[in-house]
Amino acid sequence: MIFKGKVFKFGDNIDTDAIIPARYLNDAGEENLKKHCMEDADTDFSSRVGEGDFIVAGANFGCGSSREHAPRAIKACGVHVVIAKSFARIFYRNSFNIGLYILNADTTGINEGDLLEVNTDNGEIKNLSRNTVIKANTIPKFMSELVNAGGLIGYAKKKAGAYSHD
């Protein structure tokens, strides 16, 4: 898939409490998650972000809690791709499971407001504002199969077709 949009840039160690604070976890509805996404890191993020925009961050993005509300909140904002130097483990797997694209790349040269064109199939990140191209690390084959199946539930549905407990 190819996505084009502008960059919202964050630093290192953006934790899941920053992505979606626990005080809003009494409602897993998309509207609620969208409204409060990134609130503690960037107060009016959700009102400025648009369909196809990117979250670009430093190291250890998504550290902390296992709350799947975090990648779901990001997706609810219209962001399809997060690019960071590294990701915390559970956030990483949650994102693949729910079909949010996660790219591992050196984000040093990408700045707030840059216009990017990202190809999630080959990991090519074109920075249209700066005329540069960087390449994201490749992902394991199983994980791309997972995203292509529509995430883990899509994968599960296929499996359920050939499987039953009774």
Partner: protein
């Protein structure tokens, strides 16, 4: 010659149909216990219902623990808890606990013998890694993962590399498992063990109990780790033998197993630690923390890290006959109902109340900034919990300092961050 395996590799291997595995492999592993709570399980239940499978894989191997927002903090959280309850009733889930018999999930499951050595446990909660203390492979996953595990009793896992962490020597007085793990995270950083298994060993652990191991494994995720495991021994056996209602297996790493890193520390030189805002890796010695004269507004003693009876005994030992500082709050939260009851019988609750504390029924509550103990703007707390991220306990301008229960109790008395020796 067959590859030498770590305890983690062995447990995972024995939960697959494979004959060999190595770090980096993605495998489908059988799950002994799949856990969810009142925040994560509602999403899992919703997803489970879309898969097209009617029955859960095994009603005895699922644990549902409403603990984050119970007793229900508001209408929305009541609805989430209701989703759990109705699912538990519909599928006759054996390990479902209403709040009057429950407590914080990671204190409850070991206490009830639901998780055992050699198990492979997945939980939709990052601190599922706590059960590594028992010699189980246990890791946090997401809600969608949990839905998948509910349906099929298995889950995809990447076999992690392991870091061996050896602590030798007798710890100083007031130094607990909490201090060793804060010290370690201070050394390797919050990303220091990302995607890896931490494997703890060494003579130090003969001097510490199961509560210390549970606190250490609990915070493995704070270094990014997938799991934090101890090789089971007599202390493990002592803890599980009276609780287990099924068989369990002690696994051990092979001599010559491969590690990504081996780290060795002399526990005898480590002092109580305080982790400064806003990351668990910002740990410093208590002497340094105390010298900074950091005033506090609130102290929290509880959580899946340090809400066990051993922790409450230590805190009560310091608070006995004393009062907390004026214009500050102390919130004590026994992690489970059984711990609450023990604390009551031992007279600890009275000690806390006499000191001016409020004692809550078991819940996560303020640990995640959920309810009951939320910080206002600019307020500062010292807490026996595990995370001090920005805004974790309340307003985004509030601050959380992490420490062991002894340091928390002493700080509550002086109204500033202080070590136990300063009040005794």
């Amino acid at each position: 010659m067959a590859r030498k395996l770590t305890i983690t590799e062995k447990i995972i291997l024995n939960h697959t149909g494979l004959s060999d595995i190595k770090p980096g492999d993605i495998v489908n592993a059988r799950v002994d216990i799949a856990l969810g709570n009142d925040i994560t399980a509602p999403i899992a239940i919703k997803e489970f219902e879309t898969i097209g499978i009617k029955e859960v894989f095994d009603r005895k191997k699922i644990a549902l623990v409403p603990d984050h927002f119970v007793p229900n903090k508001d209408i929305l959280s009541a609805k989430q808890a209701k989703v759990l309850r109705e699912f538990a009733r519909k599928h006759d889930i054996e390990n479902y606990f209403e709040c009057g018999e429950a407590g914080v999930e990671h204190a409850l499951l070991p206490e009830k013998g639901i998780v055992l050595p050699g198990d492979l446990v997945v939980g939709a909660d990052s601190h599922t890694c706590t059960y590594g203390a028992l010699g189980a492979f246990a890791t946090g996953v997401g809600s969608t993962d949990l839905a998948y595990a509910f349906a099929f009793g298995e889950l995809w896992l990447k076999v992690p590399e392991s870091i061996k962490v050896i602590f030798e020597g007798k710890p100083k007085k007031w130094v607990s498992g909490k201090d060793l793990i804060l010290y370690l995270i201070g050394k390797i950083g919050v990303e220091g063990a990302n995607y890896m298994a931490l494997e703890f060993s060494g003579g130090t652990f003969k001097h510490l109990g199961m509560a210390d191991r549970l606190a250490i494994s609990n915070m493995a995720v704070e270094a990014g780790a997938k799991s934090g495991i101890f090789e089971p021994d007599e202390i493990t056996d002592e803890y599980v033998k009276t609780r287990a209602k099924r068989d369990y297996t002690f696994y051990r790493s092979d001599e010559g197993a491969e590690y990504a890193r081996i780290l060795k520390f002399d526990a005898g030189t480590i002092n109580p630690q305080v982790a400064f805002p806003h990351l668990p890796e910002n740990s410093v010695d208590i002497a340094e923390a105390s010298s900074k004269n950091i005033k506090i507004d609130q102290t929290v003693i509880g959580s899946c890290t340090n809400g066990r009876i051993e922790d409450l005994r230590i805190a009560a030992g310091i608070l006995k006959g004393k009062k907390i500082a004026r214009y500050t709050r102390l919130i004590v939260i026994p992690a489970t109902v059984d711990i609450y009851r023990m604390a009551e019988k031992e007279g600890l609750i009275d000690i806390f109340l006499d000191a001016g504390a409020v004692v809550s029924t078991p819940t996560c509550g303020p640990c995640l900034g959920g309810y009951m103990g939320i910080l206002a703007d600019g307020e500062r707390a010292i807490s026996s919990t595990n995370r001090n991220f920005r805004g974790r306990m309340g307003d985004v301008t509030s601050e959380v300092y992490l420490a062991n229960p002894a340091v928390c109790a002493a700080s509550a008395i002086l109204g500033k961050i202080a070590g136990p020796e300063e009040v005794l």
